[in-house]
């Protein structure tokens, strides 16, 4: 867990006001601890990502939610795909083969 102040000091270009606004927008959702916040490792990584999106990639603040929403959808789909892959991985060899062939056929555009 990382405290609010610690995180502000850690990351260049970030200040109290900015981080508070990101929390208020719901872009990063740290745990509330008393009057302050505690950031998990994932929250910290997310603040780094937000910083990069805005400062390095020069995405205007008004456009950040668009990018963030698309990214969260992307990660959501990746989690679901991982779950399906894990579920397929424990199936018998024959079933796995069939699924792989069928999926490959459809992805290559030869589906009816």
């Amino acid at each position: 867990m990382t405290a609010f102040q610690q995180l502000v000091e850690q990351i260049e270009e970030i200040n109290d006001e900015l981080l508070v606004s990101w929390i208020e927008e719901g872009w990063v959702r740290p745990n509330r601890v008393g009057k302050s916040y505690a950031f998990s490792d994932m929250d910290v990584a997310r603040v780094h990502m937000l910083r990069d999106i805005h400062f390095t990639l020069q995405i205007e603040i008004e456009s950040v939610p668009v990018v963030l929403n698309l990214l969260d959808q992307l990660y959501g789909h990746r989690r679901q795909l991982n779950a399906i892959s894990a579920a397929i991985a424990v199936q018998p060899e024959e079933v796995r083969q069939q699924i792989t062939e069928e999926a490959t056929r459809r992805l290559s555009g030869s589906a009816d």
Binding site: R29, M49, L57, N69, D72, L74, R79, Q80, A83
Partner: protein, 308 residues
């Protein structure tokens, strides 16, 4: 000769580039390579790190001058490690930031529909509202023999408390009722099936409910007897080797095997002795036995020839 570590080449700019040109080059590459925007691309992270490091060096006027003057190399000043969101976004924890309007199970169904093809409105899950999950788990030889409870995190992030039955067998599949994937449309969750793989033990071997092992003993222990510690599934026990024990002698440790799930009574552990000589021939022992053999006629093959 091109230097793949050269910060100018990494950013694709001339050594005479202005600060502004360097900044723009970095931003352009970051848009393309940022690891959080490329979660499925392993190369992107490596390239992004190199490009960021190059930018870290060239965007610092002092460091850039030192590099140009050959006072520091491209690795000279590594930027501190920073975490990337993609490390977490793919994991179970990432669900915290899933778009709020989505219900995971519906999406999962949609995904099945999209990826694996669903042509009619027929529901592919109609016959299987409660979904089972299948896992596999590795347990040690001793855990399998003694049984016990083990908390494990499965590859999909699910944490299960698995009760390993005493004396469980290789490839045995345990059923954990109601521990499968969440049911669809309010149906109860399915069951989790966990297939057990038992690691081998360096010394012990299972044969049904009995345990077998080979125990090497020294010549002196074989002749004058000894008490030695042998491993069992419940810990080391002291085994008394009677004087004059031959190779091949089988000792039984009663009740030190695996408890039978059927009869409820435990098997035994069998210890087979093997008299073992030192790797290096011992001169003193050789001398002593040469003398000893003179007046101690003993022919271990006499019986085979029917001379007794």
């Amino acid at each position: 000769m091109p230097n793949p570590r050269d910060p100018y080449e990494l950013l694709g700019v001339k050594p005479s580039a202005s600060d502004e040109e360097i900044r723009l080059a970095y931003r352009k590459l970051a848009k393309e390579l940022h690891p959080d925007l490329n979660p499925g691309n392993a190369q992107a992270e490596a390239r992004f790190k190199n490009v960021s490091q190059a930018y870290g060096l060239l965007s610092d006027t002092e460091k850039r001058q030192q590099y140009d003057a050959g006072q520091i190399d491209a690795d000279g000043h590594e930027r501190p490690e920073r975490p990337f969101y993609r490390t977490y976004g793919d994991g179970a924890e990432g669900a915290r930031y899933a778009p709020a309007s989505e219900v995971d199970e519906e999406v999962l169904q949609d995904l099945f529909g999209n990826i694996f093809g669903r042509h009619s409105n027929a529901d592919p899950f109609a016959s299987q509202r409660s979904r089972n999950a299948q896992y596999s788990m590795q347990v040690s030889f001793v855990e399998a023999a003694k049984g016990g409870t083990k908390r494990v995190t499965m590859p999909d992030g699910k944490v299960l408390d698995i009760s390993i039955p005493e004396g469980c067998e290789q490839s045995q599949t345990l059923r954990l009722k109601g521990q499968g994937s969440p049911g669809i449309e309010g149906k109860p969750p399915g069951d989790a099936y966990v297939r057990i793989t038992i690691d081998s033990h360096p010394v012990l071997r299972r044969d049904g409910n009995d345990i077998h092992m080979e125990l090497p003993i020294g010549l002196h222990e074989a002749v004058i007897g000894a008490t030695v510690l042998v491993p069992t599934v419940t810990g080391d026990v002291a085994l008394k080797i009677p004087p004059g024990s031959n190779s091949g002698r089988m000792m039984r440790l009663k009740g030190k095997g695996v408890r039978s799930s059927k009869s409820g009574s435990p098997g035994d552990q069998f210890v087979r002795l093997t008299v073992t000589l030192p790797d290096e021939p011992d001169e003193k022992l050789k001398e002593f036995l040469t003398e000893w053999a003179v007046d101690h006629a003993y022919d271990p093959r006499a019986q085979e020839r029917g001379e007794t």
